[in-house]
Symmetry: C2
């Protein structure tokens, strides 16, 4: 008998019928002899409906009152799910974040969990009931309702699993696991049966939207085994673990992530003196523009070219800042390109394998894809290319690293 | 400076625009220098929408989970109203029943208030804020959410006013006060500026739906001055008080209530022996059928006719029970009539005036309206008549007792 935390997102509980289907899944887990704590989101669309009501009154509404408002979304779901469970003779009790209680700081609309009391949940489990917990919400030390921000229900699930020392935290979603790459781009993309937290974090940060990055960090930090499964189909999903097994036996690459939401900026002919990087990136940071990949090379004429990427939405803002900065630092010119894409190979296996980069570059060269920037970390290699070649690059790399083979 | 509790019902907060109008009314009260605690219901239609979701899953849903579900309705309203108040620079803070806290027993869906903690509300008022409280809900000693049942928001308003020793509890509704009778029946019906709790209780129990009877009882018990006003128009409304002033100067009759939701049952030729009434009404009570007016007369032949009224919805149920009962007690026959109406004169003034009954019967006789049953209390006289004559009777009595004159 294990203790399982299951988390169902908004789409999985989007209608009364789907809530009943979720109840069946939970009962099946109970019938296998496991204790179950369930975390649910608001029914899909509900949070936006509530926020629209608030916005109709004041688009600068008090965050504390917004939390009182939107936290009703999950409260509706826990009650309906508990009713659906009782209906099929699976005893259940609902808990709001406050009832659990999930103590957070007072950063309304983006609160962080500080502590979780598990006594009430353990009593509920001991009484043979399923505990149905509202995700995304908590309560501060003044008893005021808080929310964890968008995607916070995953975090609630993982945090509960950590606090309860659960055997597994299962995140039910509309995909049936983590894939070697996006199946819409590469039809032979394959579901991974396991992936490490490190790899999952890189995949998530690179645009693969299966899980909220914060919940993966949290699960990794507390060593909570995390499993991604589909609410709508049967299957084992993908298990995300600390255990890397024998790295030597690992495939070199676990997956390919990509992102077409970035833009590139180049400041050319920057006098190569100490502090140049700071004088260029300082004003960008002050304007709250986040920078992703940064590359700098020293040229022959005592000047350097300074290249970095930002989110495409902030391209024009960054370009305007740089025009002024270029004058200040005496740079020759500023260039920009908002038609780029980033493709990344991810895998803990590359730590012990040489030649991953050259194999990657070879595959791209064969297709005449020009590499504009390169950036590496211990378990990742990213290249920036013209966005027209994105799909081609992903398909070529998927084949070159044998990702379609189990 | 006074402390005012204001209660706004579901229609008054039915849209974002109406919530903003309510905020304006509250601010106007604040600007007069008063402290304000506001109690609100769910936006109209919301409670039914939520209950329909539950019913789609299980029409025998657990009461405790229904309370978790429907209590979200008021929680949405308190957040939106607090946002609307802050928008017009009227500082506000919302409170769920649990946050106040309004302690109730654990009779889910029909809980009773046991205690109200006022410390948090007083701190909020002392900080210059309006306290916006969710009506209809509370929390039991296990921290579980409860609701007070339909119409419970009025009760919350009155209970808060009593606990805070407020100067007045204002119930905002869609009518602008209590009338001498229903203005849809008598166009010259007049708004009363004051009415006593006793009279209001009789009016309410007789079908005048301005206030929930439980909240009037509560207000009377704790001596909370209660005022009924319109959310949509200006005006002083009707004040409901303990103070009866000088009864001698009071009008004989304050108002005329009526009810066409009853049905009459007659058991004829019941042997006139001790225990007959019990043997007839016992089975009715056991079947949870509520009985209103009861009349019994002893006849000449050692038998008696036993007549009473029940709600029209329970007419057939009661009739079936009586068919059997009549055999058991040896009664001659059972008759029924579900086309009756009850008309009642109400007024504390009748205590000191003789002849109210005869004046009433005279007025009805002039219009050839036959009286089927008569029932009296200290401040009320009710007659049962054929429902066809209801409007005529009310108009005649309204004129006969000069109710259209201030």
């Amino acid at each position: 008998m294990a203790l399982i935390v299951q988390k169902y997102g908004g789409t999985s509980v989007g209608t009364v019928e789907r809530i009943q289907a979720v109840a069946d899944k939970i009962k099946a887990t109970r019938d296998q002899g496991h204790d179950v704590v369930v975390v649910v989101s608001a029914m899909s669309g509900e949070t936006n409906r509530l926020l629209a009501l608030a916005k109709a009154i004041d688009d600068q509404a008090l965050p504390a009152e917004l939390d009182v408002l939107v936290s009703t979304g999950e409260q509706v779901t826990i009650a309906l799910l508990a009713i659906a469970l009782e209906k099929i003779h699976c005893p259940a009790q609902s808990f709001t974040g406050s009832q659990v209680k999930i103590l957070t700081d007072s950063a309304f609309t983006k609160a962080r969990i500080e502590n979780i009391e598990v006594v009430g949940l353990r009593q509920t489990l001991a009484a043979g009931k399923v505990a149905v917990v509202a995700g995304f919400q908590g309560v501060d030390d003044q008893g005021r309702i808080t929310t964890l921000g968008r995607g916070g229900s995953d975090t609630t699930g993982v945090a509960l699993a950590a606090a309860l020392k659960a055997d597994e935290c299962q995140i039910y979603t509309d995909v049936d696991g983590v894939y070697t790459t996006d199946p819409r781009v590469v039809s032979s993309a394959r579901r991974l049966s396991t992936i490490t937290f490190e790899e999952m974090l890189e995949m998530a940060s690179l645009g693969s939207k299966v899980l909220q990055i914060r919940s993966v960090e949290f699960a990794g930090k507390y060593g909570v085994p995390l499993r991604v499964l589909s609410s709508f189909t049967e299957g084992p999903g993908t298990l995300i673990t600390l255990d890397q097994g024998d790295v030597m036996e690992k495939p070199v690459i676990s997956g390919i992530a990509f992102n077409r939401e970035e833009a590139k900026l180049v400041v050319r002919g920057v006098p190569d003196v100490p502090g140049a990087a700071y004088r260029i990136l300082g004003p960008i940071g002050e304007a709250n523009v986040e920078v992703d990949v940064i590359v700098q090379n020293v040229g022959l004429d005592k000047t350097t070219d300074f290249t970095f990427t930002v989110h495409r939405n902030e391209f024009n803002k960054a370009l305007n800042i740089l025009e002024q900065v270029a004058k200040d630092v005496g740079a020759r010119e500023v260039l920009g390109d908002d038609h780029i894409a980033k493709v990344s190979l991810v895998g803990v296996g590359m730590r012990s394998h040489a030649g991953v980069a050259s194999r990657m570059f070879e595959a791209l060269a064969k297709d005449n894809i020009n590499i504009q920037m390169i950036s590496t970390s211990e378990i990742k290699i990213s290249v920036i290319i013209d966005e027209r070649y994105l799909e081609l690059a992903v398909r070529s790399l998927h084949a070159a690293f044998d990702l379609d083979k189990a």
